[in-house]
Amino acid sequence: MNMIDRLIKPVYAHCDVPCGIYETDTMRHAADTCLRMIEKMEVLEGVSDGASDAHNNFIRMVMTKEKHAQLCKDQIYVLWSDFFKPDHLENFPDLHERLWHAAKQCSKVKQTVSKEEAQKLVDMVHEVAHIFEGAQAKA
Protein backbone atom coordinates (compact mmCIF):
# COMPACT_ATOMS: atom_id res chain seq x y z
CA MET A 1 0.00 0.00 0.00
CA ASN A 2 1.49 3.34 -0.98
CA MET A 3 1.60 6.52 1.07
CA ILE A 4 -1.63 7.92 -0.40
CA ASP A 5 -3.51 4.73 0.37
CA ARG A 6 -2.22 4.76 3.94
CA LEU A 7 -3.18 8.37 4.51
CA ILE A 8 -6.65 8.34 2.99
CA LYS A 9 -9.41 6.45 4.75
CA PRO A 10 -11.25 3.84 2.67
CA VAL A 11 -14.88 4.05 1.73
CA TYR A 12 -16.41 0.75 0.76
CA ALA A 13 -17.94 0.14 -2.65
CA HIS A 14 -17.96 -3.62 -2.50
CA CYS A 15 -20.32 -6.06 -0.92
CA ASP A 16 -19.31 -5.38 2.66
CA VAL A 17 -22.85 -6.17 3.67
CA PRO A 18 -22.68 -9.79 2.49
CA CYS A 19 -24.54 -10.17 -0.79
CA GLY A 20 -23.16 -13.59 -1.65
CA ILE A 21 -21.85 -12.46 -5.01
CA TYR A 22 -18.18 -13.37 -5.33
CA GLU A 23 -16.01 -14.20 -8.31
CA THR A 24 -12.37 -14.85 -9.19
CA ASP A 25 -12.30 -13.63 -12.80
CA THR A 26 -11.16 -10.14 -11.80
CA MET A 27 -8.34 -11.53 -9.67
CA ARG A 28 -7.16 -13.88 -12.42
CA HIS A 29 -7.37 -11.19 -15.08
CA ALA A 30 -5.34 -8.84 -12.85
CA ALA A 31 -2.61 -11.43 -12.30
CA ASP A 32 -2.50 -12.25 -16.03
CA THR A 33 -2.20 -8.53 -16.79
CA CYS A 34 0.84 -8.22 -14.50
CA LEU A 35 2.55 -11.08 -16.32
CA ARG A 36 1.70 -9.61 -19.72
CA MET A 37 3.09 -6.19 -18.75
CA ILE A 38 6.40 -7.75 -17.74
CA GLU A 39 6.55 -9.69 -21.00
CA LYS A 40 5.99 -6.43 -22.88
CA MET A 41 8.60 -4.59 -20.81
CA GLU A 42 11.18 -7.23 -21.61
CA VAL A 43 10.83 -6.76 -25.37
CA LEU A 44 10.37 -3.00 -25.33
CA GLU A 45 13.07 -1.36 -27.41
CA GLY A 46 14.56 2.09 -27.01
CA VAL A 47 14.47 2.52 -23.24
CA SER A 48 18.25 2.35 -22.85
CA ASP A 49 18.67 4.74 -25.82
CA GLY A 50 16.66 7.40 -24.01
CA ALA A 51 13.78 7.45 -26.50
CA SER A 52 10.92 9.45 -25.00
CA ASP A 53 8.18 7.24 -26.41
CA ALA A 54 9.89 4.13 -25.08
CA HIS A 55 10.23 5.69 -21.62
CA ASN A 56 6.60 6.76 -21.74
CA ASN A 57 5.47 3.25 -22.66
CA PHE A 58 7.69 1.67 -20.05
CA ILE A 59 6.21 3.87 -17.33
CA ARG A 60 2.69 3.08 -18.53
CA MET A 61 3.46 -0.63 -18.30
CA VAL A 62 4.86 -0.25 -14.79
CA MET A 63 1.78 1.72 -13.74
CA THR A 64 -0.53 -0.91 -15.21
CA LYS A 65 1.39 -3.66 -13.43
CA GLU A 66 1.23 -1.74 -10.14
CA LYS A 67 -2.49 -1.08 -10.50
CA HIS A 68 -3.38 -4.65 -11.37
CA ALA A 69 -1.19 -6.14 -8.64
CA GLN A 70 -3.08 -3.97 -6.14
CA LEU A 71 -6.42 -4.96 -7.68
CA CYS A 72 -5.41 -8.60 -7.38
CA LYS A 73 -4.47 -8.08 -3.72
CA ASP A 74 -7.79 -6.32 -3.02
CA GLN A 75 -9.68 -9.22 -4.59
CA ILE A 76 -7.77 -11.75 -2.49
CA TYR A 77 -8.59 -9.75 0.66
CA VAL A 78 -12.29 -9.65 -0.23
CA LEU A 79 -12.41 -13.43 -0.62
CA TRP A 80 -10.36 -13.91 2.54
CA SER A 81 -12.39 -11.60 4.76
CA ASP A 82 -15.88 -11.87 3.26
CA PHE A 83 -16.32 -15.13 1.37
CA PHE A 84 -14.34 -17.76 3.24
CA LYS A 85 -15.85 -18.90 6.52
CA PRO A 86 -14.34 -20.90 9.40
CA ASP A 87 -15.94 -24.13 8.19
CA HIS A 88 -14.04 -23.85 4.89
CA LEU A 89 -10.88 -24.47 6.91
CA GLU A 90 -12.04 -28.02 7.53
CA ASN A 91 -11.75 -28.81 3.82
CA PHE A 92 -8.90 -26.41 3.11
CA PRO A 93 -6.73 -26.34 6.23
CA ASP A 94 -3.98 -24.32 4.53
CA LEU A 95 -6.44 -21.66 3.35
CA HIS A 96 -5.03 -18.81 5.45
CA GLU A 97 -1.48 -19.56 4.43
CA ARG A 98 -2.33 -19.74 0.72
CA LEU A 99 -4.22 -16.46 0.74
CA TRP A 100 -1.53 -14.79 2.80
CA HIS A 101 1.21 -15.92 0.43
CA ALA A 102 -0.84 -14.92 -2.62
CA ALA A 103 -1.39 -11.42 -1.18
CA LYS A 104 2.32 -11.11 -0.41
CA GLN A 105 3.13 -12.28 -3.94
CA CYS A 106 1.16 -9.30 -5.28
CA SER A 107 3.65 -7.06 -3.47
CA LYS A 108 6.53 -9.07 -4.89
CA VAL A 109 5.19 -8.49 -8.41
CA LYS A 110 5.00 -4.77 -7.70
CA GLN A 111 8.60 -4.72 -6.48
CA THR A 112 10.12 -6.65 -9.37
CA VAL A 113 10.14 -6.93 -13.14
CA SER A 114 10.34 -10.69 -13.04
CA LYS A 115 8.38 -13.07 -15.21
CA GLU A 116 9.05 -15.84 -12.67
CA GLU A 117 7.49 -13.83 -9.83
CA ALA A 118 4.50 -12.84 -11.99
CA GLN A 119 4.01 -16.44 -13.11
CA LYS A 120 4.12 -17.49 -9.44
CA LEU A 121 1.31 -15.02 -8.74
CA VAL A 122 -0.72 -16.36 -11.67
CA ASP A 123 -0.29 -19.90 -10.32
CA MET A 124 -1.16 -18.89 -6.75
CA VAL A 125 -4.25 -17.02 -7.91
CA HIS A 126 -5.36 -20.07 -9.88
CA GLU A 127 -4.96 -22.16 -6.72
CA VAL A 128 -7.05 -19.67 -4.75
CA ALA A 129 -9.67 -19.74 -7.52
CA HIS A 130 -9.65 -23.53 -7.39
CA ILE A 131 -10.24 -23.46 -3.62
CA PHE A 132 -12.97 -20.87 -4.12
CA GLU A 133 -14.72 -23.08 -6.68
CA GLY A 134 -14.40 -26.05 -4.35
CA ALA A 135 -15.87 -24.08 -1.47
CA GLN A 136 -18.73 -22.87 -3.65
CA ALA A 137 -19.48 -26.40 -4.80
CA LYS A 138 -19.76 -27.57 -1.20
CA ALA A 139 -21.95 -24.60 -0.18
Binding site: V11, A13, V17, I21, Q70
Partner: protein, 91 residues
Amino acid sequence: MLMIRRIVGQSMQPALPPGAIVLGLRWLRPRPGNIVVARVGDREIIKRVVEMGERGVYVLGDNAAHSTDSRSFGWLPSASIKSVIIGSFIR
Protein backbone atom coordinates in the same frame (compact mmCIF):
# COMPACT_ATOMS: atom_id res chain seq x y z
CA MET B 1 -16.21 20.49 5.58
CA LEU B 2 -14.24 18.32 3.15
CA MET B 3 -14.07 14.55 3.26
CA ILE B 4 -11.42 12.65 1.28
CA ARG B 5 -11.78 8.92 0.85
CA ARG B 6 -10.27 6.07 -1.21
CA ILE B 7 -12.55 3.63 -3.06
CA VAL B 8 -12.34 -0.03 -2.10
CA GLY B 9 -14.45 -2.38 -4.21
CA GLN B 10 -16.18 -2.41 -7.55
CA SER B 11 -19.75 -1.43 -6.91
CA MET B 12 -19.33 2.10 -8.25
CA GLN B 13 -17.60 1.16 -11.48
CA PRO B 14 -17.20 2.56 -14.07
CA ALA B 15 -17.62 6.02 -12.52
CA LEU B 16 -15.41 5.25 -9.50
CA PRO B 17 -13.07 2.28 -9.92
CA PRO B 18 -11.16 0.75 -6.99
CA GLY B 19 -8.39 3.07 -5.85
CA ALA B 20 -10.10 6.27 -7.00
CA ILE B 21 -9.88 9.18 -4.58
CA VAL B 22 -13.12 11.03 -3.93
CA LEU B 23 -13.78 14.41 -2.44
CA GLY B 24 -17.01 14.97 -0.51
CA LEU B 25 -18.70 17.92 1.13
CA ARG B 26 -20.43 17.24 4.43
CA TRP B 27 -22.94 20.06 4.42
CA LEU B 28 -24.47 19.56 0.96
CA ARG B 29 -28.00 18.24 0.77
CA PRO B 30 -28.03 15.08 -1.36
CA ARG B 31 -30.23 14.89 -4.41
CA PRO B 32 -31.15 11.95 -6.67
CA GLY B 33 -28.21 11.23 -8.95
CA ASN B 34 -25.62 12.35 -6.40
CA ILE B 35 -22.99 9.93 -5.17
CA VAL B 36 -22.88 9.93 -1.38
CA VAL B 37 -20.89 8.50 1.49
CA ALA B 38 -23.13 6.91 4.10
CA ARG B 39 -22.45 5.18 7.36
CA VAL B 40 -23.90 1.65 7.59
CA GLY B 41 -22.99 -0.13 10.78
CA ASP B 42 -19.36 0.56 11.53
CA ARG B 43 -18.35 1.26 7.95
CA GLU B 44 -18.65 4.03 5.43
CA ILE B 45 -20.06 3.01 2.07
CA ILE B 46 -20.35 4.90 -1.18
CA LYS B 47 -23.42 4.65 -3.42
CA ARG B 48 -25.60 6.73 -5.73
CA VAL B 49 -28.85 8.28 -4.51
CA VAL B 50 -31.82 7.09 -6.51
CA GLU B 51 -34.69 8.46 -4.48
CA MET B 52 -35.32 10.48 -1.36
CA GLY B 53 -38.50 10.54 0.62
CA GLU B 54 -40.14 10.21 4.00
CA ARG B 55 -38.57 6.79 4.48
CA GLY B 56 -35.07 8.17 3.96
CA VAL B 57 -32.64 7.70 1.11
CA TYR B 58 -32.63 4.85 -1.41
CA VAL B 59 -29.14 4.17 -2.76
CA LEU B 60 -27.77 1.85 -5.43
CA GLY B 61 -24.31 0.94 -6.70
CA ASP B 62 -23.67 1.78 -10.34
CA ASN B 63 -22.31 -1.74 -10.87
CA ALA B 64 -25.46 -3.56 -9.83
CA ALA B 65 -24.03 -7.07 -10.17
CA HIS B 66 -21.36 -6.28 -7.58
CA SER B 67 -23.17 -4.08 -5.15
CA THR B 68 -24.93 -4.43 -1.87
CA ASP B 69 -27.22 -1.47 -1.57
CA SER B 70 -30.79 -0.50 -0.75
CA ARG B 71 -31.99 -3.58 -2.60
CA SER B 72 -30.52 -5.50 0.34
CA PHE B 73 -30.54 -3.16 3.33
CA GLY B 74 -33.46 -0.95 2.36
CA TRP B 75 -33.84 2.79 2.84
CA LEU B 76 -31.11 4.55 4.76
CA PRO B 77 -31.95 7.15 7.39
CA SER B 78 -31.15 10.62 6.08
CA ALA B 79 -28.82 11.12 9.03
CA SER B 80 -26.61 8.28 7.79
CA ILE B 81 -25.54 10.34 4.76
CA LYS B 82 -22.18 11.83 5.66
CA SER B 83 -21.21 13.68 2.52
CA VAL B 84 -22.04 14.32 -1.12
CA ILE B 85 -19.24 13.57 -3.58
CA ILE B 86 -18.24 16.64 -5.60
CA GLY B 87 -15.16 15.34 -7.38
CA SER B 88 -12.91 12.37 -7.97
CA PHE B 89 -9.41 11.52 -9.03
CA ILE B 90 -9.05 8.21 -10.83
CA ARG B 91 -5.56 6.72 -10.54
